[in-house]
């Protein structure tokens, strides 16, 4: 499993005669999340395409925005769906309209922002 981690420190502007100090606590609403897949046959693919990718996180992530990206060969983005996590911290992003062949998916990314 690979995760790209980037942390940006909070910027603090200090005036000539004023001094401020503080720190930003970097937290996450939950340590992990899972993504599953639902598929359906499509004659236009043809083959099985991904319909939904149910996301399960935690109630502490409730109401936060999410974005799921399905990636293929060379880490190219095949499709993205975004939305808001429900009261349980779950969601069911719908990729049906994108007609992504299940066979072409090699990775999935999830971003939760709150």
């Amino acid at each position: 499993m690979f995760g790209a981690v980037t942390a940006f420190a909070a910027t603090l502007s200090v005036g000539a005669t004023k001094l401020g100090s503080g720190n930003a606590t970097v937290t996450t609403c939950n340590a992990s999340a899972s993504v599953t897949y639902a598929t359906a046959y499509s004659s236009t693919v043809p083959g099985y395409k991904v319909t939904t990718t149910p996301v399960t996180s935690a109630a502490t992530c409730s109401g936060q925005a999410y974005k799921v990206t399905l990636t293929g060969s060379g880490n190219t983005s095949l499709a993205e769906v975004s939305g808001v996590l429900d009261a349980s911290g779950n969601a069911t992003p719908d990729f049906s309209a994108s007609s992504i062949a299940a066979a072409n998916i090699t990775g999935v990314s999830l971003v939760i922002t709150g």
């Binding site: 499993m1 690979f2 995760g3 790209a4 981690v5 980037t6 942390a7 940006f8 420190a9 909070a10 910027t11 603090l12 502007s13 005036g15 004023k18 001094l19 401020g20 100090s21 503080g22 720190n23 930003a24 606590t25 970097v26 937290t27 996450t28 609403c29 939950n30 340590a31 992990s32 999340a33 899972s34 993504v35 599953t36 897949y37 639902a38 598929t39 046959y41 004659s43 043809p46 083959g47 099985y48 991904v50 996180s57 992530c61 936060q64 990636t71 062949a101 299940a102 066979a103 998916i105 090699t106 990775g107 999935v108 990314s109 999830l110 971003v111 939760i112 922002t113 709150g114």
Partner: protein
């Protein structure tokens, strides 16, 4: 026997990493509650190639009533398998599943759509998990 395609997708479990979103504090203000951002990527692994599946069927009065799959990758055991029989133009004629994969050979005895055996030109298989 007919080769069936395609493919298995596994459940992705992601470990979330916390990111601090860019935040700006002006003057004496201090950004002590930046937006929380969690991000993770995971590979979608496959339980094995399904392109080499063996497929045969039983028909009654020219209607497919059961489909037997062989050479299912052992790693797919416990996954959720769906099958679609197709005809001309890849039109779906009938389907089975989802069912739990229980071994390297499996018979699907509930086929919807009453597909005419002489019209079937191919089959597509999907396994999600395990």
């Amino acid at each position: 026997m007919m080769n069936a395609g395609r493919k298995a997708a596994a459940v992705g479990a992601l470990t979330l990493f916390a990111l601090a979103a860019p935040s700006t504090a002006w003057g004496q203000g201090v950004a002590n509650a930046p937006a929380k951002v969690s991000s993770a990527w995971t590979a979608v692994s496959t339980c094995g190639s399904l392109s080499g599946l063996g497929l045969s069927w039983t028909s009654t009065a020219n209607v497919v009533t059961a489909v037997t799959l062989t050479t299912i990758p052992a790693a797919c055991s416990g996954g959720s398998l769906s099958l679609t029989l197709v005809g001309a133009g890849n039109a779906a004629l009938g389907s089975a599943g989802p069912v739990s994969v229980s071994g390297t050979s499996q018979t699907l005895s509930t086929i919807t759509g009453s597909p005419t055996s002489t019209s079937v030109t191919g089959a597509y298989v999907s396994v999600v998990g395990p």
